[in-house]
């Protein structure tokens, strides 16, 4: 067995050009569990956790580009928490401080667990991932990257280097249900992103399908239902639902219908279907309140 500790992206890509390529180790929060329990015996490991560039992020032209090595701890602290609030909410529900210090957004993406907490948020933000190899770099929309449970479109010779999405963007809420607050894997989760400029809504569901899912029927219905509160100079970023509570019930129904849950050791499919509806209702109730100051809501238009 060999271990290569890369210090730069080019160095990592060079190592990945080997045949066969080494297995990529980032924060280790999934990979090392498999090694510790002898479920994985890699011939060669490429450790990327010491590549400083992967832990950095840039914001320009309304886009946020997060290096794949950005940790959950980085995501839940300002300024990232202000640029991508739902991602911060999701990061805060991951594991414990120890796990959040080690685990990375790139790891969450490549592991491609149906329960990956950042994935519904990234899907609702229409994120794209950057995959680099010795041959060059390609960009994929998240829906084309996530293929199934623990399956993604990364080739063995590629390194996921970054994820990009608009930020700051609209108003955002992430809600997750699990068996307790800390150290819990999601039974169901929802991210709702509302663009106050256009009144468009995007809803993504986690842990209720082979990959995170968009609830497009619910999105279309909501776009018809959202009415801005006040107009002209008194306009706020608060919205009302045209049909009030009946509309909320219909969104819950459409979201539950969009879910494709399974029975497993964490939850029954029936409970997941119920929980995902509860999550979307809670997220919407928060979003329909007036924005907490202009910080997030007003910027996107």
């Amino acid at each position: 067995m060999t271990v290569t500790v890369a210090r730069s992206v080019p160095e990592a890509l060079q190592a990945l050009a080997a045949d066969p390529p080494p297995e990529v180790l980032a924060g280790g929060t999934d990979f090392m569990v498999e090694v510790n329990f002898a479920r994985r015996r890699p011939e060669a490991i490429l450790a990327v956790s010491r590549i400083d560039a992967l832990g950095q992020w840039q914001q320009s032209d309304g886009q946020l580009r997060l290096g794949a090595g950005v940790t959950y701890t980085q995501l839940l602290e300002p300024p990232l928490a202000e640029l991508a609030p739902a991602l911060a909410q999701a990061a805060r529900t991951v594991g414990s401080p120890q796990i959040r210090n080690a685990g990375t957004i790139g790891g969450n993406l490549v592991t491609a667990s149906p329960a990956g907490d950042t994935l519904p948020v990234l899907l609702a933000l229409d994120a794209e991932v950057e995959l680099a190899s010795a041959q060059g770099t390609r960009t994929l929309p998240l829906e084309a990257f996530l293929l199934g449970p623990k399956r993604c479109a990364r080739r063995p010779d590629e390194l996921l280097v970054a994820v990009r999405f608009p930020a700051p963007f609209g108003r955002q809420e992430f809600v997750k249900v699990g068996t307790r607050n800390a150290m819990v894997i999601a039974v169901a989760s929802v991210c709702v992103v509302l663009d106050p400029g256009t009144g468009q809504v995007r809803i993504a569901l986690g842990s209720v399908g082979p990959t995170p899912l968009r609830a497009r029927a619910a999105e279309a219905y909501l776009a018809e239902q959202l009415v801005p509160q006040g107009t002209g100079p008194t306009a706020t970023s608060a919205f009302e639902l045209r049909d009030g509570d009946a509309a909320l019930a219909e969104v819950r129904r459409l979201v539950a219908e969009a879910a494709q849950p399974i029975d497993d050791h964490r939850s029954s499919a029936a409970y997941r279907r119920h929980a995902v509806g509860v999550c979307v209702a809670r997220a919407l109730e928060r979003l329909l309140r007036p924005a907490p100051g202009a910080a997030l809501g007003e910027v996107a238009a």
């Binding site: 067995m1 060999t2 271990v3 500790v5 180790l25 924060g27 280790g28 929060t29 090392m32 569990v33 090694v35 510790n36 329990f37 015996r41 890699p42 490991i45 450790a47 956790s49 010491r50 701890t73 594991g95 414990s96 401080p97 120890q98 796990i99 210090n101 080690a102 607050n181 800390a182 150290m183």
Partner: protein
């Protein structure tokens, strides 16, 4: 395959090990530092908490060979050798009666070090969140919370007298 780790400020050579070993395994079995405890080996229990380049992590989830050149601090690096040389956090745990079987204590002491360095006067909620990754099956956490508050006060007093 040989490599060197810097543990508690001292370079230590790791020899004839399998390269897939976790930092926890290397600390305990190769370097004779059994303070970090081995329980779950999957990052759930926090009993192997160490500081890696100043970040609180579970040593069981760190590939030891990937930590070459990093600064590793274990519970052994926080206090001195004997009962007289306890650091203020260890002393607070003793004084508050926060130790029962003691298995989770080293991990908690390291986690509380990390907390008080970042947040010198934490609220109860900040304490609860900071130790949410450290499982204790004996105490019910009441006295652990007491110990953290006691340690925070001790640090504050130390800062005043200095």
């Amino acid at each position: 395959m040989r490599y060197e780790l810097v543990v508690n400020g001292t370079p230590r050579e790791v020899d004839s090990s399998w390269l897939g070993e976790s930092l926890l395994y290397v600390l305990r079995e190769r370097l004779g530092l059994p303070g970090s405890k081995n329980a779950c080996e999957q990052g759930e229990c926090g009993s192997c908490s160490v500081l890696l380049d100043g970040r609180l992590v579970c040593a069981c989830l760190v590939l030891a060979a990937s930590a070459v050149g990093a600064e590793i601090t274990t519970v052994e690096g926080l206090g001195g050798e004997g009962p007289e040389d306890l650091d203020p956090i260890q002393r607070a745990f003793v004084e508050a009666g926060a130790v029962q079987c003691g298995f989770c204590t080293p991990g908690l002491v390291v986690a509380v070090h990390d907390l008080l360095r970042r947040v010198p006067q934490p609220s109860e909620w900040e304490i609860r969140e900071a130790i949410s990754g450290n499982l204790c099956r004996c105490t019910g956490y009441g006295r652990i919370l007491d110990a953290v508050q006691r340690a925070a006060r001790a640090f504050a007093e130390q800062a005043v007298t200095r």
